[in-house]
């Protein structure tokens, strides 16, 4: 039950964030998608021991979150859900990596660097992906997919899934709740009810699909999905992608923290 409620809340929250207004929100969806993709590719291209070197990649999510006025709470909450898996895989590394590094005079397993690297990459990639949806919304994503020549049929189908997720989550919640009320038991479903419970929702779902299809046909649907013409990317959008593309590439190319550190400590001369 709590899973269902959480999922519902999460989707609504991000949907609502995406309907706000800001400099970033007004940017063309395709520009935001491309900027995020370039950023992610460059981020994950760092080698497995990169830790401090990739810190400049913090700038992009901080900029987007601040400029789009996205609150930190929903982002952090999602990160807390996701992080355990990344951390789990990361923590195995110190066990298997037998190299050592010396940090400030202490010798530690270089596996810890891998752990830290995975953690940083995971956090940054997840945050920037969440920021993409929080500033673009599903409609924007659909629009950029269309611009990328993804067939309409797929886009329509995906949007229908998105549209009906909340309806079906509510239906699942009601059904599970009805079971809980009568079973007086735990939140988990016993084996005997798996079939009836899921099967009933499934049958209702298929009947619903039929009614939706009827409703679509009554309004002239003939397999062709007509979406309105979307605005083209303007020069602002191009500048946005270029700026973050070049910045990310520059951060990737020069080790900014090391350079800064050398400057401050006078080392490396």
């Amino acid at each position: 039950m709590s899973n269902i409620v959480n999922a519902m809340y999460n989707i609504r929250q991000f949907d609502e964030l995406a309907r706000r207004d800001s400099l970033i929100h007004r940017m063309h969806p395709l520009a935001k998608l491309l900027a995020t993709l370039v950023y992610t590719v460059l981020l994950v291209s760092y080698d497995k021991y990169a830790t401090i070197a990739l810190l400049p990649f913090v700038f992009f999510p901080v900029y987007v979150a601040a400029a789009a006025k996205i609150p930190l709470e929903p982002l952090l909450k999602r990160l807390l859900y996701i992080e355990p898996m990344i951390v789990g895989i990361g923590l195995l590394n110190p066990l298997f990596d037998h190299g050592t590094v010396v940090v400030l005079g202490y010798a530690i397993s270089s596996g810890w660097l891998i752990f830290l690297s995975i953690f940083l990459k995971g956090t940054l990639a997840v945050t920037s992906a969440l920021l993409l949806i929080a500033t673009t919304g599903m409609d924007g994503v659909a629009l950029s997919l269309r611009k990328l020549m993804v067939p309409k049929i797929f886009v329509l189908q995906m949007m229908l899934t998105y549209r009906y997720i909340s309806v079906l989550l509510e239906e699942a919640a009601r059904t599970v709740q009805a079971y809980d009320l009568r079973a007086f038991s735990s939140q988990r479903l016993k084996r005997e009810v798996w079939g009836p419970l899921l099967g009933q929702i499934l049958i209702r779902t298929m009947d619903r699909a039929q009614r939706i299809y009827d409703a679509m046909c009554l309004r002239g649907f003939s397999g062709e999905y007509c979406i309105g013409k979307a605005a083209r990317p303007g020069w602002k959008d191009i500048i946005y992608v270029m700026t973050w593309g070049v910045l990310s590439a520059a951060f990737r190319g020069i080790n900014l923290p090391l350079w800064l550190g050398n400057l401050l400590t006078g080392a490396g001369k």
Partner: protein, 252 residues
Amino acid sequence: MSHHITEGKDLFYAYPDGHQAVNGISFRIHHGESVGIIGANGAGKSTLLMLLTGILMPANGEVIIGEVRLNKDNMAMIRQRLGMVFQNPDDQLFMTTVHDDVAFGPRNLKIDEPQVEQRVVSALEQVGILHLKDRAPFHLSAGEKRAAAIASVLSLMPDILILDEPTSSLDPKSRRRLMKILGGFEHTKIITSHDLDMVLDICQRVIVMKDGQAIADGPAKGVLTNKVLMEEAGLEMPLSLQGCPVCGGEKT
């Protein structure tokens, strides 16, 4: 404008499982008439509406819309003149924003985008929810959903408006608003409902269904006050026509 006639001639329909849901119905509805179709649960009202819109094809008999017999070939054409609002607005609002949903029909007609926009705005204004234009259906209340569903067929500018239980799950205020919206249309209206007070308010004519057949067809007031007939159909008279339980007097 008698050319927008909606006619059912001796209609029969049985579901694949053999259940005879519509069992020989005939009627003729003129342009501008508003007709209520009432009957107990399972009487066959929704099935009848599906026959009228070509979602189901009658096993026997024919549907005639504006002098043309509905068949598979002219279905797309005829459907442009029909607007059907489904019982459950969630089945009808399948796009991700109210705007896109209202634009869905006009866009399928391949109308130019500026004109589509015009139609969307005017349809939303008619039902009074222009401010909800960019909202997602799951952010709407039941009454707002219903209004959006109606707007989504109004944007097609239909000659005939068909509504399946439009007032179900609405609170009294939303219901009254909806009745006001419906009262404002000069279209032909065909409405099924269990809300007999609403039917009395909006419809001049009522068809009573029982077991897939029409057991009465006549002026709303006459039919709805016929206690024997209503009981036979498994219905009760509208509250506004029932005697006052406190003073015991008969309202007229």
